[in-house]
Point group: C2
Chain length 412, copies 2
């Protein structure tokens, strides 16, 4: 039995991924692990950074010149890989040369979208130290995502530490220039080899890393949006607030459709009220003045299950409350109708609009096509960003690159 | 250039999957292919069965005894694999030994759920001929699914022919007994190697085959359902009517939750009206009498975008219109509230309820837990199926196994 077990394990290492056959007791075990009953959790192995093994590549890659970097296209020398099974819990973490995954074609990730991910970045500061930005938020969200689709959860601090080891090993890939960083993609997939639709009995958590340049290499470039009313990204009771693969593929055709009419992104509206939710893969912020009082307000959609809980969204909100409220701003997480935005624009009360996300930090919006009309978002013709968007980018980047000492910056 | 192309192709064959780097012109080409502009479609290669190559396994598997077959767990000796790229279209189809897929960890199928599939079966008739059931419907739906997530479409007849070649090659895996069949799983995945969210520049279509036994080996066994009101499977304007992986993973936790309370499946309700939509992974049929007129009616939810367009659903509807309407039944595709079903049960007007799907054909329902009450679905205590469910199973199985000559049966 022991030798059989070892044989299975060896095969798994060889092919990087192989999943054990689900035993009849798997579902029960999984459920208990999933619900984190302490008695069972202690029987299943947790993520253990002290068990990390590192296999270094024998063929280090040539660095891509910083100016040629394209988002998510080139990857570093290594990857982090950790297998999980419902019977044993988390296996020993491994850093291995970046390599293909070898998966049975019946693996549930290919059929039922058992997959979720995170997007985060590592930055090199002026002293050459490497920093992450609020990794605890990514870990928290990863666990919300994975548990919603019956994949296992992880100890966030342990995974952050392991991600740190990968980043340090591949730190030569992080350009030192401002705006450059190493994009990190923790991904969890179900590897159970059966077409039966059920909770995966095995999974693989892997992290790959891709050096990226600034989103706006030559300064901000405000974008044009098309408000989409014919397709719906997310709904109450659904999974639109989780970072699941399932939320992405269905967005491409509406995005292409908007692009064919010359818009950089589409803006997702929700319901008969046409509430503003998200833009492409970013959260959206709207700065406007109240019709009656003239009160300045920075608004973003609330976390009602239909929008992603963006880490940058949370950071913008936090900084706005800390630094804009004292200057007289109101900061609101509330539902806002597209018609309200259009009215504000018509009446000269729309100050600025910007998207927020890990890739660009903030992405200023010039205008939004809505019901055949262009809603002007308040930028002057020769302006590519409003004051708040510019401030936010500077504030957040200052923290990310360690210019400002801040609890959000995590030094490796 | 030509030799470089060949080198790339060879690598792809070796690893089974490798995706070309997306060129700057890819999106344009893809869009035109996607929208099937004749001029461009003719420049890209279509699916060509005459180019099929077959590599037979050198290690044929032992057959699993029919009684030990578990759905989707054992597979035949071979698989069909066809690669697609935005620049070249469909590559030559290949039947190869069943094997792992080797995919770059940045492949878009792992991150953004670029994946869709079909479920269909091959049956051995009394003369040893092999038959498919309405494969044209599966091909039609596959194309609806793939195009909704920016994956390529296929010539349905060509793919049916290729699936037929796989089935014939592995026909020894199809047990001859009634109720047994070879479950076929055409699957399309995006293989583009980039974390950028966009239309996949490359894809793999593969078909695997798994011998399966009867869903009810010892006769029908009526199931208990729990009506789910806290989670929502699909939404108008969403993708719940497509056979995307994205629709499946999010259903597991609600199903486990229902299972933990002793229910075999959950019943998805929609909206404040609590319309009955689907049950687990099946469509639902409800037979009831009208309160005023006593008219017998077989009802199923309409194709409004929130339910899957089941091939078995369509077959049940077709047979009901042909064979039940003359006997005085009304057949309706209409929205029906859960409360209407509960009222019919209370008033003794609920005749029977059953799910429909490829796996079980029909699956009789004994009762539904709804708002803390059990809705009795009309079966007598010693009965496991109603008359319509039993008739439907016999009718459809008679066509599938070729007892009845019918245009829905496709002889290979």
């Amino acid at each position: 039995m022991n030798s059989l077990r070892q044989f299975t394990r060896r095969r798994a290492l060889q092919g990087l991924v192989a999943s054990p056959t689900q035993s009849s007791s798997t579902i029960g075990l999984w459920q208990r692990h999933f619900s984190n009953t302490p008695a069972v959790a202690s029987r299943l192995a947790g993520l253990d950074p002290s068990k990390l093994t590192v296999t270094k590549t024998s063929t280090p890659k040539e660095l891509t010149p910083a100016k040629d970097l394209v988002f998510g296209k080139t990857f570093t020398d290594h990857m982090l890989a950790i297998e999980w099974s419902a019977s044993d819990g988390w296996d020993a973490p491994r850093i291995v040369p970046y390599q293909n995954l070898s998966l049975d074609p019946s693996s549930c990730v290919f059929h039922y979208a058992f997959e979720c991910f995170e997007g985060m970045k590592a930055y090199k500061d002026n002293n050459g130290q490497i920093r992450l930005f609020r990794p605890d938020k990514n870990m928290e969200r990863l666990n919300k995502s994975s548990s919603r689709i019956a994949l296992p959860t992880v100890d966030g601090e342990a995974l952050t530490q392991l991600v740190g080891e990968l980043v340090k090993l591949d730190s030569r890939f992080i350009p030192s220039d401002r705006g450059y960083s190493l994009y990190l993609r923790p991904t969890m997939i179900g590897t159970q080899k059966t077409l039966g639709v059920g909770p995966p009995g095995s999974a693989l958590l892997f992290v790959i890393a891709s050096p990226v340049g600034p989103y706006y290499p030559t300064g901000f470039k405000a974008i044009s949006l098309e408000a989409t009313d014919y397709a719906v990204r997310a709904w109450p009771g659904g999974v639109g607030d989780k970072k699941l693969g399932a939320n992405y593929a269905p967005c491409i055709v509406p995005q292409l459709s908007a692009a064919s009419r010359g818009f950089q992104q589409n803006l997702w509206l929700f319901g008969e009220e046409e509430y503003v939710t998200e833009v492409g893969t970013m959260n959206l912020f709207i700065a406007l003045k109240d019709k009656e009082t003239g009160q300045k307000e920075l608004v973003t959609a609330p976390l009602d299950g239909t929008i992603l809980e963006g880490v940058t969204r949370d950071s913008v909100l936090g900084l706005a409350r800390e630094r804009l409220v004292p200057k007289g701003w109101a900061v609101s997480e509330r539902k806002i109708r597209m018609s309200e935005v259009a009215d504000a624009a018509d009446e000269g009360r729309l100050i600025e609009v910007f998207g927020s996300g890990t890739a660009a930090i903030v992405s200023p919006v010039r205008n939004i096509s809505y019901k055949g009309k262009m809603v002007d978002c308040g930028l002057k013709e020769d302006e590519e960003a409003g004051e708040i968007a510019s401030q936010m980018k500077n504030w957040i980047e200052g923290i990310q690159y360690g210019d400002e000492d801040h609890k959000w910056s995590y030094v490796l």
